[in-house]
């Protein structure tokens, strides 16, 4: 019998041990440490918002719309989104934010202010005057209200669209 096996035998005196259970507890602890470290690493990578796994920039098929956003959010937190739309110089651009996004999030601030905004069952239409090159850059701060998966899209009326999938942790 090896030293280890001998050491791990149950003692009856001075106390009745249950060393096999204790070894399970120790194993559970060891495994738990790895889980905790994995959680920290995944957090740094951005599984729980803000990190390489979460932050992404998407360009629409037509190339006229770019959205920077996060895949993952935490309930109650505020996150920025940058929308870049290209249209024709001198022509106003109308962006449509679909309803699921507005269900899961509320707009905390939006810069610049739209010249007009309109709600509809499909979502929210925001109209902006373009700069000289026909571009609009929009900074939105979203506050997460909902929990779960939200599939929505941001589109230019008469232009390209970007499907946006977002997950909000409780």
């Amino acid at each position: 019998m090896s030293l280890l096996e001998q050491e791990m035998l149950d003692r009856k005196h001075p106390i009745a041990e249950d060393i096999s259970l204790q070894r399970k507890v120790w194993k559970f602890q060891r495994a738990g440490w790895y889980v905790l470290v994995a959680v920290v690493i995944l957090t740094l990578l951005g599984l729980f918002s803000r990190g390489p796994l979460s932050t992404l920039q998407t360009v629409s098929g037509l190339g006229d719309l770019t959205v920077e956003y996060e895949r993952f959010y935490r309930g109650g937190g505020a996150n920025p989104m940058v929308v870049q739309a290209t249209g024709q110089p001198g022509k106003e651009i109308t962006l449509l934010i679909s309803k699921p996004m507005l269900d899961g999030f509320s707009i905390e601030s939006i810069q610049p202010q739209p010249v007009s905004s309109m709600g509809s069952p499909q979502g929210l239409s925001l109209t902006f005057p373009p700069d000289k090159s026909g571009q609009v850059t929009l900074f939105i701060s979203w506050r997460s209200n909902g929990i779960g998966l939200f599939k929505s899209q941001i589109s230019i009326v008469g232009g390209g669209y970007i499907p946006v999938t977002q997950f909000i942790y409780p």
Binding site: L3, L4, E7, M8, R11, P14, I15, E17, D18, I19, L21, Q22, R23, V25, W26, F28, Q29, G32, W33, V35, L36, G76
Partner: protein, 132 residues
């Protein structure tokens, strides 16, 4: 509970200064998560009552079943036997020779390990010494 189980008994038994700060931060974070932005008295009472019910529930369950009690609280472990360190057990339980000798000095005024018949790592993380 599960997190405290993972971090082991020592974190409850002997608090280092870091453990102490950690405990306060955990308390603060838990309080925020439980209360959220609801500062009503009703909510505070509900949280307290829920926690107390869980605590009482655990103690009742522990009285009913010995096996569950062992799972929740753990059991004592012998780490010195007849003056010899049980090193594998000490390693698993993250106890060092110095911890045992310190407990031996404080409790019994012993100088050497061969004066110890048994050292037992108790459920609360303290080390008790039985003299040879």
């Amino acid at each position: 509970m599960v997190l405290f189980k993972i971090s082991g008994r020592r974190s409850v038994g002997e608090l280092t200064s870091f453990d102490f700060v950690l405990l306060m931060v955990i308390g603060e974070a838990t309080q925020q998560a439980l209360l959220g932005d609801d500062f009503s008295v009703t909510n505070a009472i509900l949280v307290i009552v829920t926690l107390m019910v869980i605590d009482i529930g655990f103690s009742l369950v522990k009285r009913r079943s010995k096996r569950l009690a062992k799972l929740i609280d753990g059991g004592p472990t012998i780490i010195v036997e007849n003056g010899a360190f049980l090193r594998h057990r000490m390693h698993e339980a993250r106890v060092q020779e110095d911890d045992i000798l310190q407990a031996a000095r404080i409790e019994q005024g012993f100088e050497r390990v061969d004066q110890i018949k048994y050292a037992i790592l108790e459920r609360n993380g303290k080390i008790s010494i039985i003299p040879a």
